[in-house]
């Protein structure tokens, strides 16, 4: 028996993150009175190291999978890792601003663990690894959601935990079925086993369905979205942003791998289902967002609707992977920025995140209102924000795949969603600030400036010069069989 050759480089991003998570945890426990600034610094260092390694992996020429076929090194994984690390960094900065020095040692550690789980998820080459990564990610998030120990947070955390456990069970059952049908849990192995078969067995279809349900929970596709509004509302605002941006990217990349690689031979079986899910998700997400008065809840429904748009891209198949990733990236940037503004405007108190807080904002803080407008326009898909070009990209791919009618539905849902977003703009620009809102000044710290301007800059930059990243995304090759 020979020991398998082990190359640590592909694993290094996750190792850095987990390692730094441990360090932060211990450091926070030992030096109780140490300034929270150090913890933030460590966290950012860990994330930066992970990002640098990921960049180094771009031109990876070693074996396509490592650790006995558990992890894959392809450009999709690298790009997604970079996006996730960026989201993690933003979330850490947001968290630092949010907690403002109240011993958030575990917060950073959990954030790093969750980020590690996400990076593993996007580079998982085996269903077992997908499951493990999902659990690492989810368990950290369950705690993060309930981190403030407020009632609503506890409720959200419990809800997320119960439904998440359900979905994990579905997923695991799906893994078992798939193993039964194909005799392997390797993503490429499954594709190979299924590709020669003219008619898929019921076992394979059942496995596909269960895996799909498990993943649909994570990406919050209707009808598996029930947890999203409560969790997004109850969670501390930085965690909301982290989940909306990071979890979406990671779970969708996993979905691409499972559907578009492992089950690619069964594309004609899953494509109609994904299209159905996409329609449901877009329509319900858009319409249910209208009556919301809590801005975080509104963003939750908007994230559901955006999941529908991404599903359109997934339904379009392999050619759309690059634009789908671009869409996820654009969405992540805009939603992080929006969450950052929400956090500041609601005075860093989760319960104050009503859209009323935005009334007359353009008179109180014109710049803040301006960037919020930019993020909302990006979510709406109005140029020059990046949301425009990313939406066009995903819809162009879908049209090319012969799904023109689906694109029309998507665009009409986007019109409905427009109403949701411009309602906030109406409040900010076309209403006077309330007396009671003006009584409490909006506190803007250096961290706020960073967390708000960086996404705003990116939204504009990528919106005007999308070619900066499009080249990379075009080469977002995926390891196939």
């Amino acid at each position: 028996m020979t020991t398998p050759e082990l190359d640590f480089l592909p694993l290094a991003p996750a190792l850095f993150l987990v390692g730094m998570g441990m360090v932060v945890l211990l450091f926070g426990a030992i030096y109780k009175r140490a300034s929270a600034k150090w913890l933030l610094l460590f966290t950012l260092l860990g994330l930066a190291a992970a990002g640098l390694v990921a960049i180094k992996l771009w031109g990876w020429e070693g074996a396509p999978t490592v650790l006995g076929g558990m992890l894959v090194v392809d450009q999709l994984a690298v790009l997604a890792t970079l996006a996730i690390v960026g989201v993690g960094a933003m979330a850490a900065l947001l968290g630092a601003d949010y907690f403002d020095g109240e011993e958030p040692g575990e917060f950073y550690a959990l954030l790093l663990f969750a980020t590690a789980g996400m990076t593993l998820l996007v580079s998982a080459a085996d269903l077992v690894m997908v499951f493990l990564a999902l659990e690492v990610l989810s368990l950290s998030l369950y705690v993060l959601v309930g981190f403030t120990l407020r009632r609503a947070a506890g409720e959200a955390s419990l809800k997320y935990f119960l439904l998440g456990a359900f979905s994990a069970a579905f997923f695991l059952y799906g893994v078992a079925m798939t193993y039964g049908a194909t005799g392997t849990t390797s993503i490429t192995g499954i594709a190979r086993a299924l590709s020669g078969v003219p008619l898929p067995g019921s076992l394979a279809l059942a496995g596909l369905g269960l895996l799909g349900v498990g993943l649909a929970f994570k990406v919050a596709a209707v009808p598996f979205h029930m947890w999203t509004p409560d969790v997004y509302q109850g969670a501390p605002t930085p965690v909301t942003g982290f989940m909306a941006a990071g979890t979406k990217v990671a779970a969708f990349v996993a979905m691409i791998r499972v559907l578009d690689v492992a089950f690619a031979p069964l594309q004609w079986n899953w494509q109609p289902v994904i299209i159905g899910l996409a329609v449901l998700t877009m329509v319900l997400g858009a319409f249910l967002a209208i009556p919301q008065t809590n801005i975080k809840r509104m963003l939750a429904y908007s994230s559901i609707m955006n999941a529908g748009f991404v599903l359109v891209g997934i339904a379009a198949g392999g050619a759309a992977i690059g634009v789908t990733l671009f869409y996820l990236l654009a969405y992540a940037i805009a939603v992080l920025g929006a969450v950052a503004v929400v956090m500041v405007v609601s005075h860093r108190r989760d319960e104050a995140a009503s859209i009323e807080a935005f009334r007359g904002l353009s008179k109180r803080k014109p710049a803040l209102a301006g960037v919020m407008t930019l993020f909302l326009l990006s979510l709406t898909g109005i140029p020059p924000a990046v949301g425009f070009i990313s939406k066009v990209g995903i819809f162009a791919a879908a049209t090319n795949a012969g799904l023109g009618w689906l694109v029309l539905i998507a665009l009409l849902c986007a019109v409905v969603a427009t109403y949701v977003y411009i309602r906030v703009i109406v409040l900010m620009y076309m209403d006077e600030p309330t007396v009671q809102a003006s009584a409490e000044p909006i506190r803007i710290t250096t961290l706020t400036v960073i967390t708000v301007t960086v996404p705003a800059f990116l939204v504009l930059l990528l919106g005007i010069l999308p070619n900066l990243v499009a080249g990379f995304l075009e080469h977002a090759s995926v390891l196939r069989w």
Partner: protein, 532 residues
């Protein structure tokens, strides 16, 4: 020298200037005004450099942008866009002068105005469909802000309605653009949004018709054609004066421009196929708009409905497919911008003084403000098509050019002119003439600033009315080539006038229009079986 790029992005230069913290409002106004004046000067230069004898696109620019998606930065100007550009650059400084009295968030207001100018210019000059759509959408938000923030009582309702309606239209337009893109990927082997590459794409007839309809809905909202017009009276009425000017004079033109530039150019067969139906819709709009305008009690609403009526005429002319009607439609786009813009300016001046637009409350204002009354009268006379003023030429060309093809529609459209005489003159009488009420007796007449902004518009109106040649010289090569293109594409024998555009009688295009040999050889659109 990339003149067109400079022209488009020149207004944006003002935005960083306006961002300077604690810039006094006065300087913000001056800054915006000088930037727009500079843009206007540059557009005059472009006008001078424009070659009148070439039908194709001039001052062509092309650069990669996002090639992966077929998005390229492609600009060009021809006889149609030239006029739209001139209209835009002329009206922007006017609109900014007109909003000198805005007090609330002046810098934001000016930033929005400059963004609008860039967006409109980009819309008119883009030759890449996706880039066009980008500018088309870019226009939306600043316009929405102008209506919603600085408008009158029901401004939020009007702004949201405007936004949602146009987004709805845009959804169809984008689907159309993307379908065309996927068609080009199929037929050319490479997806493209380039207008010139897409021209003559050998699509299946059925497919082309569907895509045509998607484009048509998108632009019909902007034009607006009945029954998609309901956003317009609200937006026009609630917008501040500047907003109404920009909406009426410029924004509506993006719709008709889009119809001519994209619907007709890209889908000649489908355009012929649907021409009659579109003509009927247009005529319904002309008459409906005219009748509804008569019943309005709010002066701005009246003008808004008159816009609905007038825009129908342009669409009718564009879809008649004779050189004369097409040139008339393009000229009419300019004319409508001038006269409706001026009407809104006059009403804006009135509103600044009286703070009401209700016709019933006004009356006899001319006694106190004869000059403003004069401005309104000139605009109204122009708008109702009095000979010697600009609209006469355009309306005449459209109606006479349409007559050989759709005689009934042309006759019905002419009733729209009669209707416009009724509602405009009647509104003049009720607003300005008669015995003034006590409270209107001490209104101040026109200020120098207002006189300055009105003068160039009236000058251009007179120029077009009395000597339209320089304008038609620039329009006709393009429109003739377009009509010829449509005719050859749809298998109708080409017409002579299309080949010799510069030879037409100069002074009175109205005199001998019927001699143009286009008439009877046109098959009516139902017989159009050009496709296999």
């Amino acid at each position: 020298m990339r003149l067109l790029s400079v022209l488009i992005f020149l207004p944006l230069l003002g935005i960083p200037l306006l961002m300077v913290p604690s810039l006094p409002d006065r300087w913000a106004r001056i800054c915006a005004l000088s930037v727009t004046l500079l843009t206007f000067a540059l557009s005059l230069f472009i006008w001078a450099k424009f070659k009148t004898d070439t039908p194709g696109f001039q001052m062509f620019e092309d650069a990669p942008w996002l090639d992966q998606l077929g998005l390229r930065y492609t600009l060009g100007i021809d006889g149609i866009s030239l006029f739209m550009v001139m209209l835009t650059t002329l009206f922007m400084p006017v609109a900014i002068l007109m909003s000198w009295s805005v007090k609330d968030r002046v810098r934001l207001y000016m930033m929005a105005s400059l963004a609008i100018e860039t967006a409109i210019l980009g819309t008119f000059l883009s030759l890449n469909l996706l880039m066009f759509f980008l500018f088309f959408e870019l226009l939306l938000f600043p316009m929405y802000l102008i209506v919603g923030v600085w408008g009158s009582k029901r401004r939020v309702y009007a702004a949201v309605k405007f936004f949602l309606f146009t987004m709805f239209g845009s959804a169809f337009l984008l689907v159309g653009i993307l379908l065309l893109f996927s068609q080009s990927a199929e037929l050319l082997g490479k997806g493209t949004f380039d207008l010139q590459e897409l021209m003559g794409l050998p699509m299946a007839t059925e497919t082309a018709r569907w895509i045509f309809l998607a484009f048509f809905i998108g632009f019909a909202v902007k034009v607006p054609l009945v029954p998609l017009h309901t956003w317009l009276p609200d937006a026009h009425t609630e917008a501040p004066t500047k907003g109404s000017i920009v909406l009426a004079a410029l924004l509506l033109k993006t719709g008709t421009y889009g119809l001519i530039r994209f619907n007709i150019t890209l889908f000649p067969e489908a355009s012929r196929h649907f021409a009659l139906a579109i003509g009927v819709i247009a005529v319904i709009g002309i008459i409906y708009g005219g009748i509804v305008a008569m019943m309005q009690t709010d002066l701005k609403r009246l003008i808004a409905y008159s816009s609905v009526s007038h825009m129908g005429l342009m669409v009718l002319g564009a879809f008649a497919f004779t050189s004369m009607a097409m040139s008339g439609a393009v000229l009419q786009m300019v004319n409508h911008g001038l006269s409706t813009g001026l009407l809104f300016i006059a009403v804006g001046m009135l509103y600044e003084r009286t703070h009401t637009r209700e016709i019933a409350e006004l009356g006899g204002i001319a006694k106190a403000t004869p000059w403003i009354a004069g401005v309104y009268l000139v605009a109204a006379l122009s708008s109702l098509g009095m000979p010697g003023l600009n609209n006469f030429i355009g309306e005449f060309m459209v109606i006479v050019g349409t007559f050989p093809v759709y005689p009934l529609l042309a006759i019905l459209a002419a009733t729209g002119v009669v209707l416009s005489a009724i509602y405009l003159l009647w509104s003049y009488q009720r607003t300005w003439q008669g015995e003034p009420k006590e409270r209107w007796k001490h209104l101040k007449d026109i200020k120098p600033r207002e006189a300055i902004l009105v003068a160039p518009i009236i000058a251009v109106m007179l120029l077009i009315g009395l000597y339209p040649r320089p304008f038609l010289d620039r329009i006709e090569p393009t429109t003739d080539a377009l009509v010829l293109y449509v005719q050859t594409e749809t298998g109708t024998p080409a017409q002579e006038p299309a080949q010799e555009p510069a030879q037409e009688p100069a002074q009175e295009p109205a005199q001998e229009p019927a001699q143009e040999p286009m008439p009877s050889s046109f098959p009516s659109s139902d017989e159009q079986g050009a496709a296999p």
